[in-house]
Amino acid sequence: MSWLGFLSQLLAIVAALLLAPLMTGWVNQCRAWLQNKSAPPLLQPYRVLHKLFHKDSVLADNASQLFRAAPYIVFGCMVLASAIVPTLSTDLPLSPAADAIALVGLFALARVFISLAAMDVGTAFGSLGARREMFVGFLAEPALLMVFFCASLISKSTSLTTIVGTLAHRELAIYPSLAFAGVAFTMISLAENARIPVDNPATHLELTMIHEALILEYSGRHLALLEWAASLKLFAYSCIGLALFFPWGIAEAGAPIALLLAMPALVFKLAVGGAALAFLETISAKMRIFRVPEFLATAFMLAVIGLLVSILLGA
């Protein structure tokens, strides 16, 4: 493990931790501009986190140790996810520890823990959120796995760094299977990150909540960690999308200049991606919860078709 590898790994984690709330703020700004509202300041999420960390954490009378430990476990999972996804560089010493399938398993682990924590207090809202979250997850997780398989078939590997390396080095080739996988991945990220059209991140009506219902009982530092973990998850998903479909600009091993250039490239790509996400959110309406399986089943089928197309066309 070279010092450059160690540095790029550390930089990846720190960049993710610092940039994730900024990305959430940017998406909120774009959405407000598109909807002709005045936006909160760009650094508002940082202030919110700071405020939440200061507050006391108010726990329900019957909250157990699982409830109190879950935010830390979920945060730890998201930190590991941001360490594995190649954002700035493919020279990540931690990346052999988890390939694409393990990354999906990591997200599943976080989802299971937060659902269990939501069921812990035993109110109607918590179990509603847990049931809906697992429901969205059980279709989104295999669809995400199939998207990764599309990329793996092309690059003959499930290791994320190898996938990015192979895809970045091909000549500007248009892979139809990746087109299908891209559409499927966009639909999956919308579902997994609790965005319209699957869930409304700004709702206050408990009956329409999925993600918000999970964290309804949390407050203070626990809520801050969970909010940070949610923005880390959005950041990680965006970086996965960029790594799979727009991998240019990510530094290779042993290239310190490229590492310096990778940061502005990442910021630029994320800004464009965040604006696109805000655009998608603005033109769609939230679906009824019974339509969500159809939405995700469509994403799943698209990913499977992408696999089949790649076998047929050899691309």
Binding site: A179, V183, T298, M301, L302, L313
Partner: protein
């Protein structure tokens, strides 16, 4: 130049994607939009194929498709649905996830049928034969499982799209006489179907094809 085969593959994949999108759509207005988009993708693919194989017939075919499938027929269909005041569709006869699963089965079937043929094809878009066949089968399935008349018509037209794409991809287009004949048939067919739709509407006050079952001898 070397990107053209990849572009054609991409357009083929786009046509398949749009066929799937048509299956899962509920609103008739967006169905017509998707159909027009599919026609546009077909036009682009024909133009590219005509450019690489220097086959002027393909340009004519592309022009014909543009005029008919992208401009004239969608406009006609819009007029029809405005006058009939049909906006929404009811649930398809089988629910959408099952349709998707059957669709995947049809795709696998078409791909495995087309694989040996596409290896023999001389055209650079030979691999798209499986995709074209899949589009035809998917549109047929859409015709079978929709319960209103307008989506069935669109399914029929989309099937025709798939057939033209299959011919273009595998053999470099059909003879011009055949193309013109098919185009004329399609246009006349649409006009007749339009008349039928008005008749159905008058008779049953609705475009739900279940009502046609009342015409049985009982």
């Amino acid at each position: 130049m070397k990107y053209i085969p990849q572009l054609i593959n991409l357009l083929a994949a786009g046509i398949l994607l749009l066929s799937f999108a048509m299956i899962s759509q509920r609103r008739i207005a967006s169905l017509i939009n998707i159909f027009a988009l599919q026609g546009a993708a077909l036009v682009a693919a024909s133009v590219l194929l005509g450019y690489t194989s220097s086959n002027a017939d393909l340009y004519v075919s592309a022009g014909l498709t543009l005029v008919l499938k992208v401009l004239l027929i969608p406009w006609l269909l819009y007029r029809v649905i405005h006058r009939l005041n049909v906006r929404w569709d009811v649930e398809p006869l089988i629910n959408v996830p099952t349709l998707m699963i059957v669709g995947i089965g049809l795709v696998i079937f078409s791909f495995s049928l087309a694989l040996p043929i596409s290896r023999l094809s001389a055209s650079i878009a030979g691999g798209s034969l499986g995709i074209a066949l899949a589009c035809v089968l998917l549109s047929f399935m859409m015709m079978i499982t929709r319960s209103r008349a307008v989506p069935q018509v669109i399914g029929f037209l989309s099937m025709e799209n798939g057939l033209i794409f299959a011919a273009t991809a595998a053999t470099g287009g059909m003879p011009m006489i055949v193309e013109f004949g098919i185009a004329l048939d399609v246009l006349v067919g649409i006009l007749i179907l339009g008349v039928f739709m008005f008749q159905i509407r008058e008779q049953f006050d609705s475009l739900d094809i279940h009502h046609l079952e009342k015409l049985k001898e009982d």
